[in-house]
Amino acid sequence: MKYSKKREGFTLVELLVVIAIIGVLIALLLPAVQQAREAARRMSCSNNLKNIGLGLHNYHDTFGSFPSGFISNRGTPASSGTCWSSGGENTQFAPWTALMLPFIEQSALHDSMNFKEKFTMNPIDGLGSATNQAAWLKVLKIFQCPSDPRTEIQPNLLCYMGVQGGGPDFQCHGSSDANRGLDTDGMLYINSRVGFNSAVDGSTNVIIVGESKYQTHNRADGKNFGWASSANSTNLWCMGGTLASAIASINSLTEASHSTQSRGFGSYHPGGCEMLMSDASVQFFTETMDVDMYRQLAIRNDGLPVSGFNAN
């Protein structure tokens, strides 16, 4: 023990051991910090959805129904096969995101739009009127999930798609692409005018808006979508710009493209995505949930109200 009295300072080994211990502790801490940050982003995301839900409820209080998924000059789509036998246009009128603007405190933006003119689908092959194109370029934070990195590529992106229906397949599809199509058994669909009375499964058991990471954002030719995008109603490539059906299991689609954006839901939150029910409650749906339950929750009138889905 004489040795210890003599020495001054630490030996190299002692120093290395201390550094190693501190390194291990920091390594344990870092993932926890990242998880806390992600939890905060997820909370902010569900807050966006909650506000969208309250906005939709206020719209319902004022007009007696939820907004149309998008307004179209097309007739009712077919109940199977291809949606229309011929014709149609690349762009249509206002989507639900534009119709509900006054109820999320965006009256000025709402007033700047002309609802008698066409809305932009994408700026390359579905350009709307100049007035509505200017509004299309605006960025609205309430429509964007803070965990979603795609907004750096397409700043006016929409991270929350209206639910036009669900099931194993679309009600009807485009004749050139079977993975684009329309449904009319959800809460927000082409020319819809449904209210709470139409959600016969119970408003707690019907999804109205879901989180999506599939709106097209990275096409080199610029055919990208935004929060105020209208829809394509041609018989060849018909698809919704701000609507999606619950067909593909949550997060199972791997890319954002015209052929995937209206076919499923998903998010950058680990393990699932946030969903807004018609009663304006926000639920986290896990990606391992039963696919049939998820599809049934998107349909407003299938007579299959399921409960306890959140315990899945």
Partner: protein, 133 residues
């Protein structure tokens, strides 16, 4: 002296490491298995497309679905997202693979093909042939 002090430390560190590793290897949801095989349309390989597997609740199967991409007549489920096994509804779509101004994959060559199959609870091979109508 030295070994007496170090031994419990080493054991303690080892126990901590094992707990940490076990904690990290948690798997969410039911076990998943890989499916792969050929996908043909009227005997010809499908250039591009998708096979979508959904557990068939009418036959009592539950769980998440998955999507396998078809390329040059072959498909394989993603390594991190396999099927749960048991009876499944399958939906197959196919494209001609000829890029046009709207779609990289080209146009659909048949309306979505639906069938029901029973998958084993292990990695497996299964060939699909979409009949020409």
């Amino acid at each position: 002296m030295k070994s007496k002090i170090n031994f419990p430390c080493v054991v303690g560190a080892a126990v901590l490491a094992v707990i940490a590793l076990v904690g990290c290897s948690r798997q969410d949801g039911p076990p998943r298995y890989q499916v792969s095989g050929a996908a043909t349309f009227g005997g010809q390989p499908i250039p591009l497309g998708e096979v979508e597997f959904s557990p068939d609740s009418k036959q009592g199967n539950t769980g998440p679905g998955t999507i396998a991409k078809i390329q040059d007549g072959r498909y394989e489920t993603p390594s991190d997202r396999g099927v749960v096994g048991g009876p499944h509804n399958v939906r197959i779509t196919g494209y001609d693979g000829k890029t046009n101004s709207e779609s990289y994959s080209g146009v659909t060559i048949f309306s979505p093909h639906l069938e029901t199959i029973d998958l084993p609870k292990e990695d497996t091979e299964y060939d699909f042939n979409v009949p020409r109508k």
